[in-house]
Every structure is written in C-alpha cells, then in structure tokens.
C-alpha cells in the first residue's frame, strides 16, 4: 500500500453530461432543419410578452414552437398558446435553470421537422442558465429598460454569453428615466460587438429588426 496519495487526471467539464446531451440535441435540430433560440432574462423583464408577439408575427410565415421554463405554474404556456404556435411548459420544480435533458424530455412526441423555429424561454434568472447548453443556435438576453442600465456590469458572464441583446419595454423608457447611452456603453463594455435591439412588444418598435435577426439565424 502506497503512502502518498495517487493523482488521477480527469480534465472534464463538471457539466459534461449536459454538454454531451446538448451536442446531440443540436445535431437533431440541425437534421430537422429547426433553428433554436434560448431566451434569457431576469424575472419580469418581459420574456413572455415579447415571445407572445414574436410567435404571433413569425407564425404568419413560419412554423414556430416554444418551450417555456418556469419554476412553477403553466400560466406562461397558456398565454403563449393563444398565438397558435405549438407550446409546451417545462415546470422545473424549483430548479433555477433548464438543462438539456429537460429539453429533450419535453420534445417527446413532437416531430421537429414540423418546425422552422423553436424558442426556449429559460427560467427567469441571469446566472445559472448560462452554464447549461441546450443545443441552441441563438442566445438572447432580454434586459428591460426598467431594470437599470448597469445590469450588464452586474452580470457580465450572461451578457458575454449572449449573441443578441434585446432591450425590452422601450415604451416605458421615459417613465423609468432610462439612459440608453449608458446601457449601450455597459453592454459594449462586457461584450464588445454584440448586437443590441431596442424593442417594445406593446408598440411594436424594434420587432421587425428582431424578427429579421431570427430569420437570418
């Protein structure tokens, strides 16, 4: 019996099981020809409202579906289903993020080739979800103008993760005394070059630009 401890090399990502599953999901999405968008924000930033409008407008020309993650309740899924898109709720039962196996499980019974776009509305949280690849092609962070311009500085990892930043609730910018220049500067500080679109699902501002980005994904 040796006296000193033996070193065992591992060199694996702690979340490698999720990474592997996400890789398989991405292959499935690609084979089916469906583009997948992972949508992230803090709670109450307007993900569901924006998604409602996005599904409604996109579904006139494309086949769209959505998976909606929440800690509890299926309120959001019922709201989104009114758009006519195929919608399923993922209740995480307290888990703060979606994982690839949750997505996989909730795709059962859907023929992915029936869809052009699949939106995954992640659990409202700006930290945990970025650790879990869901096999998506687009990573979108929503930041409401009511949240404060320094959100990107508080969550640099999340804004660095995103390849699109949507400013939401632009119709409330004046009331919230939103400083657009400061917000843009903070986003650029943590992720230089990331595209930013200012939107309002209520007034429709920025929606055309956002939908064009989705269609080009």
């Amino acid at each position: 019996m040796s006296e000193s401890p033996r070193l065992v090399e591992v060199r694996q990502n702690v979340l490698s099981k999720n990474d592997q599953l996400a890789l398989e999901l991405r292959q499935r999405f690609d084979q089916a020809g469906v583009r997948v968008i992972n949508l992230l924000s803090s709670p109450g930033a307007g993900k569901t409202r924006l998604l409602e409008e996005t599904l409604r407008q996109l579904s006139t020309q494309h086949r769209v579906a959505a998976l909606v993650g929440d800690l509890a309740t299926d309120n959001d899924a019922r709201r989104l289903a009114r758009s006519g898109a195929a919608v399923r709720q993922i209740e995480t039962g307290g888990l703060c993020h979606l994982e690839a196996d949750l997505v996989l499980h909730h795709l059962e019974g859907w023929n992915l080739a029936d869809f052009d776009f699949l939106f995954i509305e992640n659990v409202g949280n700006l930290v945990c979800p970025t650790s879990y690849d869901l096999g998506e092609h687009g990573r979108v962070v929503l930041m409401a103008v009511t949240e404060g311009e320094d959100k990107p500085l508080k969550y640099p990892g999340t804004f660095q993760w995103a390849n699109m930043v949507l400013l939401s609730k632009l119709d409330m910018a004046e009331v919230a005394e939103f400083d657009a220049d400061s917000a843009h500067a903070n986003i650029a500080a943590v992720h230089p070059g990331v595209p930013v679109i200012a939107t309002s699902a209520r007034t429709g501002v920025g929606m055309a630009e956002w939908l064009a980005w989705v269609e080009d994904l």
Partner: protein, 153 residues
C-alpha cells in the same frame, strides 16, 4: 431526501416524505423553499461534480477520494464559497465524502487580434485588451467549470 442549507429547505426525488439516505447522487433537487436561486445552482453543480468524481475514482479502481482539484473561471457563474458549502452536502454518503475541494479560480483571458497575443483581464466587467486598450472580441478562457484531477489513496 431533504437537505437544509442555511434557511433553505431543498427536497430531492419524488417523495419528500421518504427519509432515504442521500445515495441517489445525480438526482436534481425537485423542490425548494429557498429564495436564493443561486445556492440552488451551486448545489446542482456540486451534485454533478460529485458524480463525475465518483465515476472517475471507480474507473481508477479507488474506493475513496481524498481531494478534488477544480478549476472555475471568473465568468463560470459559480461562486466558489457556495460550491464548497454545497459540496459537503452533495458528497455525503458517496465515496467522495470528506474529500478536500481545492478550487483554482482562473481569470478571463482574451485573445487580442491587434496585439496578436493573449492577455488576462483584470476586470471581467471591461472587455478591453490590457495591452492596447482596444475592445476585446475573443474570450479564450473564463467559463471553465472543470474537474482537473483527483487524489486517491
């Protein structure tokens, strides 16, 4: 299984009434009264870490793990102290029980096209090349969440 983390009550598995030993590592918490979602996150990361370590130890023919060497990037979204705290709970009843958790925190590293060089960012809130002060477009390190090695008897 029910675990109490500070003021949080976290339930594992389907049946919260069952007081089964925490042998089902890998099961994600199914409910929590914890309002700090972040701690939840570290716990689920800790469960993955323990499972990965236990599997690697078994493959190496070890019945016990003395230490884990983990690397965490500044933008990994994992708080080292919270992970340490969750780790002890996650390790309970496994061959990782009682192991030391050695965490190496690594900074964000960027590759600057202008300087044609890599550089560590002093502050992840400012993606600017520390050499030429131009915006840093490419991150090459900083999201790591890796189990590097184990120490076994």
């Amino acid at each position: 299984m029910v675990a109490f983390v500070k003021s949080c009550r976290i339930t594992f598995g389907e049946d919260s009434e069952t007081d089964a030993p925490p042998s089902k590592i890998g099961i994600i918490p199914t409910s929590t009264t914890c309002d700090k979602a972040h701690l939840m996150h570290e716990l689920s990361v800790a469960l993955s870490l323990v499972q990965l370590a236990a599997d690697a130890a078994r493959q190496a023919g070890a019945a016990q793990v003395l230490a884990l060497h983990v690397r965490i990037g500044a933008l990994a979204g994992v708080v080292p102290d919270a992970l340490r705290f969750s780790f002890d709970i996650a390790a309970e009843g496994t061959l990782v029980t009682g192991a030391r958790l050695e965490i190496e925190e690594v900074p964000v590293r960027i590759f600057c096209d202008l300087c044609n060089a890599e550089a560590d960012l002093p502050n992840p809130q400012s993606f600017v090349c520390p050499i030429c002060q131009q915006p840093a477009m490419r991150m090459v390190q900083g999201r790591e969440l890796q189990l590097i090695s184990l120490e076994v008897p």
